[in-house]
């Protein structure tokens, strides 16, 4: 069985544990081998590159070197920020031999054999390509707006994955497991991301527009593939409702939760209790008991 290096990153360790657990369970169910790199460390997203651009590149490349050392040719990175960080570092060294030499010296590892970095969406599409029909039970009532956010598919020349203006990979995957997804206009609109720190009202404004757009399109749930998207759409929904006088009640799923659900992963393996907007009434028809916690 082919095995992928698995790089959960800090988000999936803490904030986005439901992404982590559902993705691992999904892969398990589909017979896809993930091997978590025991000694992985920070990808350098966020502020590192601001302090030292070189360090911002060295950190992700060092992580990839670890994967390579373990004999893994492909690495799966579910967090959109980590993913972006890896792809950008690879892109920059590929374009600049001098920079590459410099970084090779820093990370003490040759960069000629690069590890292929994949987002789970990318990896799953490839894995499922040749497979026959997948199970799709109990999701007929879902009308999902796939929200890709701004980071996952951009910059297009760097991540070279999906179409940055009209991404489809998440839609395709969810449709393969029988979930209806909607064409809606704000798939890649900005959610405000880390503006939450400096200008929270802007985040509310942008999040409100996204919630409004999905509702207008007829969605009863979101699917996302980025922890920050999840945070802004899910955790801020009560505040949006309060600020704008709305009553949105749209569960925000990681796409992996929905896929795992259709493939028979029990509710306990989806991390549903970690949501702010309770997804259980929609997904399961009723909240699961306390035992699930």
């Amino acid at each position: 069985m082919k095995r992928y290096a698995y790089y959960p990153g800090c988000s999936l360790e803490k904030m986005a544990q439901e992404y982590d657990v559902s993705f691992r369970n999904l892969c398990d169910r589909l017979g896809i081998g993930l091997e978590e790199m025991k000694d992985w460390f920070c990808c350098g997203a966020g502020m590192v590159g601001n302090i030292s651009p070189l360090l911002g590149l060295a950190v992700p490349l060092k992580n990839l070197a670890i994967a390579h050392q373990r004999g893994l040719a492909q690495l799966v990175s579910p967090c959109a920020a980590c993913y972006n960080q890896f792809k950008r570092a690879q892109h920059e060294v590929a374009a600049d031999p001098k920079l590459r030499a410099e970084l090779e010296e820093i990370i003490e590892y040759p960069l000629e054999h690069s590890v292929e970095v994949l987002h789970p969406l990318e990896m799953l599409e490839r894995e499922l390509d040749a497979r026959p029909q997948l199970a799709h039970d109990g999701v007929d009532h879902l009308r999902v707006a796939c929200y890709y956010g701004c980071l996952l598919t951009r910059p297009p020349k760097v991540v070279t994955f999906d179409n940055c203006e009209d991404p489809q990979s998440m839609d395709r995957l969810l449709r393969r497991v029988g979930i209806e997804t909607l064409d809606w206009p704000q798939k890649t609109a900005c959610c405000g991301a880390f503006y939450a720190m400096v200008n929270p009202s802007k985040v509310l404004e942008l999040t409100h527009a996204i919630l409004e757009g999905a509702t207008q399109a007829g969605a009863n749930a979101f699917a996302v593939a980025c922890p920050v998207c999840h945070l802004n759409l899910d955790a801020r929904q009560p505040e949006v409702n309060q600020t704008y006088g709305t009553n949105f009640n749209l569960p925000v799923f990681y796409f992996s939760q929905l896929m795992a659900f259709t493939q028979g992963v029990p509710a306990e393996g989806l991390g549903l209790w970690r949501h702010v907007v309770d997804p259980q009434p929609l997904l399961l028809g009723a909240p699961v008991g306390a035992s699930a916690r």
Partner: protein, 1522 residues
């Protein structure tokens, strides 16, 4: 009355005077033109009109190109189709233009002057000599496909004409390989066809298509395994089309309506054929052979036909009466049936041979049940499948009780189990080796069985039957882990140890398969048997019977009986459809054998068109396909089902069947249902022509005019094209605006056909961007037009145009944009970043920032993307095949001084394949390319054209009129409304009518022959055709009667189609009466027709070219190279005009000075050119073909020259600015002068400011001088290259670097030239300051005041009309436009012609333009002139004005109204008195009749429309019919 001069002229021979020796030409007098758009048509007409044979290859099924799709043209708002249609007709009817439609160039060999070209023509499946274009075929075609001409906004049929006015007017059929459903059917049933016909409600036709290959329609509609549905491409979308249910519906429809069956077929052959076995294979074979006229005897061992179908298929799956109906149909051709005749028992093969049978088909099936040979199999209570089913079906008693076990997992086992269940047994168990998903029974069957309460045990093997008292009590079974058949068919199973268990049962039915019973075979027949099956050749189904196929010799003359076998007897148990397939194959083989024909080679199977999941996704998103689940089959409730032998499925209703059939995706395009073949009364359709053919021609030159494709904005996903339905391309919007478009000219948006209130236009989509760094040249103007026309069609429509620069670079364009602004079109200078759709309303939010930097999210109902023109893969292929080089964006590589020459000599280019350009530039370039070809092929001119010859004309003077009347049915176009026979009867009653008849198509070739015969036979001297419009058909009929020796003007056409049947289609009787009126009127007129003759006019084969600038020099050289005498008149002392000042070219390293000198040298030394320097034309007399002009040289000498044509190339002047210190400060120079200064090193370039639009785009001169932006950029680039530290600024209003000039604009920015936009109408100020020049303006981007220090200021001074234009215009009687430039005959299609025949123009006398364009126009004017100069004589129409001297008193009322200035007043002396009358210049008069209408004294009339004729028509019209 208007006529096109050239229409009748091509018939003239370009013959040289007799006696003149002609050298063998070294070149070939034919030209291949690739592309049938405006460019290709122009080149073809110019060449064919001047003595060359033209092959016009068009990749579509009709010519016309993109222009045919346009609604209006800017800036005159003419209807594009109205101006294009006459040109289409001219090309279509030209004797020397051969249109090759659906054709691509594939190979070019040879040298300039002598090429060998190969072309590939895709079949249209229509015989062009027979198709009359009536359109009956489209009426019956059931297949709807997207209409490409309307860009998919509407649908068309699979047999179609691209657009109503298409030329050639014949139809074409769109085909692909056979669709997957048909390919999957072993019987070859044409599934798509009958599904399509069902979708149209044509059930009888659909059933006929089914039965063509699948005579068991009812049976197959019920129990087929429908492989077709497994292959259906709809599987990639949702669910396959319910093909079987549709077929069942058709059979039920047939059963209910019982239409009469086909009559018996006469037996035309003697050879008797015996078919043994009345099952599917035997019946099919017998049916096929009987249909082909063979006497067939069918032997059946049981009492009824049907074989296994009757014996074993339970009633609840196949009711008997339906089987009977199918068999009734199968027997309809006439087959002798002998029942209760078993081979080997009641007769032998030997006896058959003795009785004279020539062939036998063995189709005895597989009726013997297989036994399960395990211990206990002999116990009582165990029975076999076939015995059981037969008893059940015939009602014999069966022994069933308690628990029943059915052993087996196939269809028959399933039938057994479900029959048992229906016999009231509650506890039914099935057990089989196979796992659930490997059972051969259908999945739906398994599901139904489970629903009915049948238990199914899988993965078991059977060890023994258990019994008590000799009766079975159960079976010992054992679990297995896997099972497989090896190659030889041997079964291996892996048992799981210790899993034995007992399945208790009171009765067991073994249903594990059937084998043939071959006991009847006598070894001496030598029919070989292997593994219990008859062995045959799989291709022919022939057995190895001696003497027949020994050595594979098919046609051996052996007297023996030929034995074939097929169906289950050969294959073992199979499906009905396979039996039918075997029956067809056997019939085919038997016929081949009996007729001594070779067996058909097995055809290689073409891969059917497959829809991939990705493609399906894409089509779904584009809305080309919609998800529609299949119409569910109504079912009996389960409770009733289990106990009933009624069918479980109830069957579709008519509505359900139609709805389900409409889900078909028409994968094969044309379904080959052959309805069109039946409908076409002209017998023009043949579906079985080869799909492509290769054509090979010798040509002297090739002209590439492929046009360009519209950019596909799908690759710019931010605009959401094909994702948001209300985002359309400009070409789509053009179709939306067009009256012949999808919404009949109403402004509608695609999503809901609602009228939009707000429309946004986004410019430069696919142009002016990285990778496509060129301007498409036309979009700014067409967008202004679309906005204006949109507002015209829907008053109040709010239009906003988002643009970068407005590029309105021709005469009248600037005013057109201003008009758009005045009429309320908003212009916003911004490139929007994204479009988003509003869910629900499907409106669109456009995100943009205005000029103040404020961001907006504005909602529009619809967005139009102004898509650019782009070369595609097809253009690259064409370039590769033609061997020509492309430049970086994929346009054809050309040079400034040879704009129509490709990199390969003898191959020329025109139109936007050179670079994006507007229609007039395209047309001028096409003529230039034609001229290039003419020069190359001058010695073979006239060698390959076909002259038309006519018999001597019959003198009918003094004869009573004898009129022949031919009334056309036009298929049903006329006859469907007008009672044609009544019209004919009526015509016969009219005076002077000697003969009247009706024709299916009067325009068809055979009717032309008939008309000629009738003229001869009945001595007719007048002909009236009552059919369609003279516009398209008069010339044809005139020609026909001329061929019969009549004067062509003894003909009239009564338009009873366009003006009668089409407009009164619901009033049959009144329309018939009107048709009679129209015929009577035509007869009244034709009686008064007199013979008229074209007037031959000898052509003086010389040209007068006025003006020796680049355009005039080009014309002179082109014509001189073609062998014509040229008088070139230049008013200055040297040639070259203003181009002499040019030292550099944009994006071309050539030295313009050098090239110009070379041209001048050639002119000075050319033997055909007589050059007059310092000269002027002072007088021009005469007209086309025959001018006499006076040339005055400055020194006082005067020359008189005779010439056939005049070309005006007098150029333009340069504006002398009064602005910006010009003339006051020597450091302020004009762009014209700066190159000289630079070349001389006299320009200070440390800081240079170039100011655009000095004297252009002002209130006094509202036009744009077109070339100055590119010129200024050229200068700026040059300065930066020569002096890298220089500061260069271009102050502009809009940068107008259209076409490939855009590339230089980007390069200039990259090289650091700074572009600053100054406010409209406010020229920057130039003041002297501290010894330098100070330029101040406000930068429109930053809205800040800018002050620049300059050493030199260069003014882009306007191009102004030559002040001599007015005088020359009067001399030549040609008009000037409002700007003071000469006015061409038509803005779009006749850019280098004047309205006056024989006078042409080119270069900046026409309008401001660059060197390259002036050179192209110069060439174009030469080709246009050559169409006249290449003839010895030209024929002038006789239908022109005639003055009746006695009546005319010279009142001159008619003089002013004459639009052609053909009438003058002359004075004459009578008895010493001076009198006046008018005189008509016959070579100018066009016969429009305006004069006749104005004359108060009946003193002027137009021949063929004489007053008495018009009066006769009026009297006839007013006459009350008896």
């Amino acid at each position: 009355m208007w006529s096109i001069l050239n229409l009748y002229c091509w018939a003239r021979l370009w013959a040289r005077p007799p006696g003149e020796a002609m050298a063998e030409p070294s070149t070939i007098g034919a030209v291949l033109v690739v592309g049938g758009g405006v460019a290709g048509m122009q080149a073809a007409l110019d060449l064919a009109d001047s003595g060359f044979k033209v092959y016009l290859a068009e990749k579509e099924s009709s010519i016309g190109g993109t222009m045919a799709q346009l609604d209006k043209t800017f800036p005159s708002n003419d209807c594009a189709m109205c101006i294009l249609a006459p040109r289409l007709v001219s090309v279509g009817r030209h004797l020397n233009i051969e249109i090759l439609r659906n054709t691509d160039l594939v190979r070019v060999d040879g040298q300039p002057g002598n090429f060998q070209v190969e072309l590939k023509r895709r079949a249209t499946f229509i015989d062009p000599t027979k198709c009359t274009g009536c359109g009956e075929c489209t009426q019956v075609c059931p297949v709807e496909l997207p209409n490409e001409f309307n860009l998919g906004l509407s649908s068309r049929k699979a047999i179609y004409k691209r657009y109503p006015q298409a030329v050639p007017a014949q139809f074409a059929i769109s085909k692909r390989e056979r669709p997957p459903c048909q390919a999957a059917c072993s019987a070859g049933t044409n599934v798509q066809a009958y599904v399509a016909l069902t979708g149209q409600g044509k059930f009888a036709e659909a059933l006929a298509v089914v039965r063509e290959h699948m005579p068991f329609a009812s049976v197959c509609g019920r129990i087929c395994l429908h492989r077709c549905e497994q292959e259906c491409n709809r599987n990639q979308v949702d669910e396959p089309v319910a093909i079987m249910h549709i077929k069942r519906f058709l059979a039920e429809w047939d059963f209910q309506h019982k239409p009469s069956l086909p009559p018996s077929v006469e037996k035309t052959h003697e050879e008797r054929v015996a078919v043994i076995g009345g099952g599917p294979a035997g019946l099919t074979c017998a049916h096929d052979l009987a249909k082909r006229g063979y006497p067939v005897t069918l032997f059946e061992s049981s009492s009824k036909l049907g074989g296994m179908l009757r014996a074993c298929v339970p009633e609840f799956r196949l009711p008997e009466e339906y089987l009977d109906r199918d068999i009734e149909y199968l027997l309809s051709p006439g087959i002798d049936v002998l029942t209760n005749m078993a081979l080997g028992k009641d007769f032998t093969l030997e006896e058959l041979e003795n009785q004279g049978y020539k062939a036998v088909f063995l189709a005895t099936g597989a009726h013997r049940s297989k036994r399960l040979p395990i211990p206990g199999h002999e116990l009582q209570g165990i029975s076999l499948n076939i015995d059981f089913l037969r008893k059940a079906r015939t009602g014999e008693p069966v022994d069933l009780t308690g628990r029943v076990l059915v052993v087996g997992g196939g269809n028959v086992a399933m039938d057994v189990a479900r029959t048992v269940r229906r016999m009231g047994i509650e506890h039914v168990t099935m057990a089989c080796l196979e796992s659930r998903d490997k059972m051969t029974a259908h999945a739906w069957e398994i599901q139904e069985a489970l629903d009915e309460g049948i238990e199914i045990i899988n993965d078991v093997t059977f060890k023994q039957f258990l019994g008590r008292d000799g009766w079975v009590t159960g079976t010992e079974a054992k679990r297995i882990s896997s099972m497989a058949f090896d190659k030889t068919g041997r079964l291996t199973v892996n048992e799981i140890p210790g899993t034995e268990f007992v399945i208790p049962a009171d009765r067991v039915i073994v249903a594990i398969g059937q084998t043939p019973d071959l006991g009847y075979l006598d070894p001496k027949n030598q029919v070989s048997v292997r593994r219990g099956l008859v062995e045959v050749d799989t291709q022919t189904l022939a057995t190895a019977h001696p003497g027949v196929f020994a050595g594979g010799d098919v046609v051996a003359e052996a007297p023996h009986l030929r034995i074939f076998a097929g169906g289950d007897v050969v294959t073992g148990t199979a499906f009905v459809v396979d039996g039918v397939a075997a029956g067809h194959k056997a019939a085919e083989s038997i016929e081949c054998c009996l007729r001594g024909k070779p067996f058909p080679e097995p055809k290689p199977k073409a891969e059917p068109p497959r829809l991939t999941r990705e493609l399906a996704e894409q089509k779904l998103r584009q809305g080309d396909i919609k998800r529609e689940p299949r119409v569910p089959m109504p079912q009996q409730p389960i409770a009733e089902r289990a106990i009933s032998f009624a069918e479980t499925e109830i069957g579709y209703t008519q509505e359900m069947a139609v709805a389900e059939a409409q889900r078909c995706l028409n994968c094969g395009l044309c379904s080959e249902c052959l309805q069109c073949v039946t409908a076409c009364q002209a017998h023009a359709i043949n579906h079985f022509l080869p799909r492509e053919e290769f054509l090979s021609y010798k040509v002297g030159a090739i002209i590439l005019a492929p046009g360009l494709e519209s950019f596909n904005p799908e690759s710019k996903p931010e605009y959401g094209y094909n994702r948001y339905p209300n985002v359309v391309t400009s070409l789509e919007f053009e179709r939306i605006l067009s009256p012949s478009g999808p919404f009949a000219g109403k402004v509608r948006r695609p999503s809901d056909q609602a009228a939009p209130q707000k429309v946004a236009f986004i410019q430069c989509v696919g142009s002016r961007e990285v990778g496509r760094n060129y301007c498409s040249s036309v979009c700014c103007m067409y967008t202004a037009k679309q906005a204006l026309i949109g507002k015209e069609h829907q008053p109040g429509l709010d239009c906003t145009v988002f643009y970068i620069d407005i590029r309105a670079v021709s005469k009248g364009f600037e005013n057109y944009i201003e008009r758009a602004k005045t009429e309320g079109v908003h212009y916003v200078r911004c490139r929007p970043s994204a479009i988003r759709e509003v869910p629900g309303s499907r409106d669109l939010i456009v995100e943009y920032a205005d000029e103040n930097g404020v961001s907006h999210h504005e909602v529009f109902n619809m967005v139009v993307l102004a898509v650019g023109l782009t070369p595609d893969a097809g253009h690259r292929d064409l370039a590769r095949i033609a061997g020509v080089e492309l430049e970086e964006f994929g346009f054809c590589k050309t040079r400034s001084f040879s704009p129509t020459h490709t990199s390969r000599p003898g191959v020329f280019v025109c139109g936007p394949f050179d670079q994006p350009m507007d229609i007039p530039d395209t047309v001028a370039g096409a003529s230039a390319a034609a001229s290039n070809a003419m020069s190359l092929l001058m010695d073979s001119r006239g060698t390959l054209v076909r002259p038309k010859e006519y018999p001597p004309e019959r003198d009918v003077s003094g004869q009573e009129p004898r009129v022949g009347v031919f009334v056309c049915h036009c298929g049903t176009n006329i006859a469907g409304v007008v009672d044609v026979e009544q019209v004919v009867q009526y015509a016969r009653t009219l005076p002077n009518v000697a003969y009247a008849e009706r024709n299916l198509y009067t325009c068809s070739d055979d009717t032309q022959k008939r008309i000629r015969e009738k003229i001869d036979e009945l001595n007719l001297n007048r002909v009236v055709v009552a059919s369609c419009t003279p516009r398209t058909h008069e010339a044809l009929f005139r020609d026909t009667i001329r061929e019969a020796g009549l004067n062509q003007y003894f003909f009239e056409l009564a338009n009873i189609r366009d003006q009668c049947s089409w407009v009164h289609m619901r009033e049959h009787e009144k329309a018939t009466e009107k048709a009679k009126d129209l015929v009577r009127i035509a007869i009244a007129k034709v009686r008064l027709d007199v013979p008229l003759y074209t007037r031959p006019l000898k052509v003086t084969q010389a040209a007068l070219v006025i003006g020796g600038g680049p355009a005039g020099m080009t014309t002179a050289l082109e014509l001189a190279d073609q062998g014509f005498k040229v008088y070139l008149v230049e008013k200055h002392k040297e040639l070259g005009g203003h181009a002499r000042d040019q030292r550099y070219l944009l994006w071309d390293e050539e030295d313009p000075h050098l090239r110009l000198s070379q041209m001048m040298a050639r002119i000075h030394s050319h033997p055909n050119i007589q050059l007059f320097l310092n000269s002027q034309v002072t007088a021009v007399l005469g007209s086309i073909g025959n001018f006499k002009s006076t040339i005055a040289i400055q020194d006082g000498q005067q020359f008189e020259v005779g010439h056939g044509v005049v070309i005006v190339a007098t150029g333009a002047e340069r504006y002398q600015p009064t602005e910006c210190l010009y003339g006051q400060d020597p450091r302020v120079v004009r762009n014209y002068d700066v190159e000289q200064l630079m070349a001389a090193g006299k320009l200070k370039t440390d800081s240079v400011v170039l100011i655009q639009c000095v004297g252009s785009r002002t209130p006094e001169r509202s036009y744009c001088s077109r070339n100055c932006c590119a010129e200024s950029i050229k200068i700026a680039l040059r300065i930066r290259e020569e002096n890298p530290v220089s500061q260069v600024y271009v102050l502009y209003r809009d940068i107008r670097t259209y076409g490939l000039r855009e590339h230089s604009y980007r390069k200039a920015r990259e090289l650091g030239v700074r572009f600053i936009r100054y406010p409209d109408w406010q020229l920057p100020e130039v003041t002297p300051h501290n010894g330098r020049l100070h330029v101040t303006t406000e930068d429109q981007l930053t809205r800040t005041r800018i002050e620049l220090e300059a050493d030199t200021v260069v003014l882009a001074a306007a191009t102004v009309p030559n002040p001599g234009n007015k005088e020359l215009g009067q001399l030549l009687k040609v008009p000037l436009g409002e700007e003071g430039f000469f006015l061409e005959a038509h803005r779009k299609l006749r850019p280098v012609d004047f309205a006056s025949d024989g006078v042409f123009l080119c270069g900046t006398a026409h309008s401001p333009m660059g060197l390259r364009e002036a050179l192209a126009q110069g060439g174009g004017a030469a080709a246009r002139a050559a169409t006249i100069l290449s003839r010895d004589v030209i024929d002038l129409e006789p239908t022109i004005s005639h003055v009746v001297h006695d009546n005319c008193d010279g009142c001159a009322y008619c003089v002013d109204p004459c639009p052609f200035k053909a009438i003058t007043v002359v004075e004459y002396q009578v008895d010493g008195a001076t009198k006046k009358r008018v005189q008509v210049n016959e070579s100018i008069c066009k016969g429009c009749g305006t004069c006749q209408a104005t004359c108060p004294k009946n003193a002027i009339f137009v021949w063929h429309f004489r007053p008495e004729q018009l009066l006769a028509e009026i009297h006839a019209a007013l006459e009350v019919r008896a």
